[in-house]
Symmetry: C2
Subunit: 197 residues, 2 copies
């Protein structure tokens, strides 16, 4: 029952596009509805968000504490604890987006950056990928929030963040994956390549 | 600059609904567009997916290996490695959904279940929450895939899964958070309460 096949040969799983149309083109969300051909030759519909991609930054203060945000997330109906993050502008390099969002949302710049990887947060209905960066050598400046953006900065140690995740107070997926990266890197298990900015 | 306030007093961050309408009601996705009042009294628009919620199961085989799926995710344009998961039916209890999805997608039933917590995977534009369950004491039966559902079962040790995450081959957010839960539980840091099913 447990079958292992060559990952390169995914013809038995692949869905091919037959037709595609934009069915909702809003201010923030764009929804596409495609017809696809299934592996057995039959057709099915697929609806999904077309997203520009995003960047999350894990900012480590010189004393080892982490810089996070408390931000009201309207779909959730409450304030969420999360690492700084934001959407990529058209054509923007992920590192530039991380530096821009960290500065705008927190006022901090960082002397060193490291790229960790990408996460895909809603693979059933969105093509969004969130690039994960670490930042250290933080230098405090002035927050430059977008108009209509309200958030509060907080700091936590890795241990505190771990306890908030275990107790169910921290539930934001990207931030939980930031915690995974942090602990694995601190344990010397996952490697980061730091670069001066 | 780093401010800590009482989490209960979030008036300075809260957004209140002024108006709400469904702007897209598809076969799978439902999009709402709301007008909200910001903390400074001005108004802004918010678009988001209304989602029924979902369940992910972390199935542990008797030899300690984990049961995962390889499934073509059309928005990503490729096969993704992930723990079994599925959407809640209307009014369905999360545990029932986890048991149903595990049986349908993998053919396995489990003698013991433990609830880990919830994750929120797209807080900027979806109200989706994914409940996380562990399952052990697995008994193999017959897969009952929905029509048009194609997936492949694979097994990995926690060590293998960890290596796939570090190398960037495993990028699905819920599955990465499953790995976080697994390693923290195996380390004796995060507790699970197992119940016979």
């Amino acid at each position: 029952m447990v079958v292992k096949t060559d990952p390169k040969d995914d013809k038995h799983l692949r869905e091919d596009k037959v037709h595609s149309e934009t069915v909702y083109d809003g201010h923030f969300l764009k929804v596409r509805k495609d017809r696809v051909r299934l592996p057995d030759g039959r057709e099915a519909g697929r609806e999904y968000i077309v997203h520009p991609g995003a960047v999350m930054v894990i900012p480590i203060l010189d004393d080892g504490r982490l810089l996070l945000e408390r931000q009201y997330r309207y779909p959730m109906g409450r304030v969420m604890l999360e690492f700084p993050a934001g959407k990529l502008d058209a054509g923007e390099a992920p590192l530039h987006c991380g530096q821009r969002e960290l500065l705008e949302e927190t006022g901090y710049t960082a002397r060193e950056w490291a790229y960790a990887g990408v996460l895909h947060n809603a693979i059933a209905y969105s093509d969004e990928g969130i690039h994960i960066f670490f930042a250290r050598g933080l230098v405090q400046g002035k927050q430059r929030l977008d108009e209509g953006e309200f958030l509060e900065l907080v700091t936590h140690s890795t241990t505190q963040l771990d306890a908030l995740a275990a107790s169910g107070e921290l539930t934001d997926a990207k931030t939980l994956i930031g915690l995974l990266w942090l602990t694995r890197w601190q344990d010397g298990e996952w490697a980061l390549e730091w670069r001066k900015s």
